[in-house]
Symmetry: C2
Subunit: 252 residues, 2 copies
């Protein structure tokens, strides 16, 4: 255990770099914050590199056995590392790892095409987890998974199910080879009503960009495209809400 | 039309006050921003007090006929008034109005108990609109409706359906008098499965605080309490996602 008392310490400078995607990629780590997220990382045996907490903070002894690099910091450093005002004085750095694509028959996936809002991305991953899906695929143009707001909205779900990055068109081909039906989503009323295809034990659902929806080229590759009828005067649903409604309706 | 070129202008100072709840209540107005929201306000004949835009901005002539007080501002003022970085140089102030409670038979309502996150509140109102509900009731402890983030997430749905403020316990009594069934939500697996009660033409659904759920006293007053089974390892669903799933499942 090492004690750090200066904001100018080199480690502190490096940790602060983890607030940007560029910094995370350069350092090879991402930063999580808060008791719940660190607990989830420990519980699910994530590749925790460093455990960092404010001196005097109560931290379970088992955590201290599981992590090699432990740092005690002063409250000023916690404030500088925190992404929110309600910081809890506890952080961890976790190794960035890439997940090799692996498509199985009888599994279900959520494919995300250019999702831009961090809250939407995190919430959809949390929802996919709660619906019992087997993986989430982040297509090109999707916001970085390790953005602070994504991490807060996911509530640790990225420790529960694999998150892939990839070309969605290639993923659709892989899924089709494994006989997994692929459903796109669109606002078009000519599409199939989302609640008319029945429960599915294995499927893939594609949700699209907040402004533009799912790319036309992808919609052309799917087995069917679904839509949710809007009854009131709202123009559309938030993409994460739409994902929740369809996932819970489809998943057997 | 009046042109304002100084950040120190008294009107500008008063508009900036509308960023806080205290300021809104003192002035009696709230501020909306962006072309889409102003368009919705015009379309739905909201009580627009002032229309404010950066000189040179293209604004439909019909809008200018509908609003008496029009101000042209300089980009520096737009920046100071904006709640987001992606400001569009167009704003309006709208009169705060209270909506008298009115419960009708054969109507459906969303009741919100102490919702704290502005994005969750706005998204739930947008979802209630899209599901074809007839009103939303904000119980005590719920974040202010005119908070900038709530306004952005609602996307104008507060112009489409009435939003009430009130004591939820009194609302439940009113709803029962009108034979509208009231459903609470809880995480307890002893509650009724949300998809087992069938489509309803009229109902009220209560969603609760992000951390604590619906207050026990309210759950004791409902006809039934519903729960959504969690299949994966997530501890719970985001409250707005849960609201979306239940509303679209229940609403006939």
């Amino acid at each position: 255990m090492e004690k750090i008392t200066s904001l100018k310490n080199e480690r502190v400078k490096n940790w602060k770099k983890l607030h940007t995607k560029k910094g995370r990629e350069k350092e090879g780590y991402y930063l999580i914050e808060g008791f719940h997220l660190v607990e989830e990382a420990i519980k699910h045996e994530a590749a925790i590199h460093e455990l960092i907490y404010v001196s005097g903070k109560k931290v379970p002894a088992t955590w201290q056995h599981q992590v090699h690099h432990i740092f005690e910091i002063i409250p000023e450093i916690a404030k500088a590392l925190a992404d929110t005002e309600a910081e809890q004085g506890i952080f961890a750095t976790i190794k960035l790892q890439s997940t090799q694509p692996q498509v199985n028959e009888k599994q279900s996936y959520l494919l995300l095409d250019a999702i831009q809002d961090p809250g939407n991305l995190g919430t959809m991953i949390r929802t996919a987890d709660a619906a019992g899906l087997d993986g989430v695929v982040l297509g090109e143009g999707t916001v970085d998974l390790y953005n602070g707001k994504v991490l807060r909205s996911m509530q640790g779900s990225h420790f529960h199910l694999p998150i892939y990055r990839g070309n969605l068109s290639e993923w659709i081909s892989l899924l089709k080879e494994k006989q997994v039906p692929v459903y796109g989503t669109e606002l078009n009323e000519q599409a199939v009503l989302y609640d008319q295809i029945g429960k599915q034990s294995a499927f893939a659902l594609i949700m699209g960009n907040e402004g533009n929806g799912v790319a036309k080229e992808l919609l052309a590759q799917t087995d069917q495209n679904l839509y949710i009828p809007i009854k009131g005067q709202a123009e559309s649903l938030n993409v994460a809400i739409a994902a929740g409604i369809i996932l819970f309706t489809l998943k057997a």
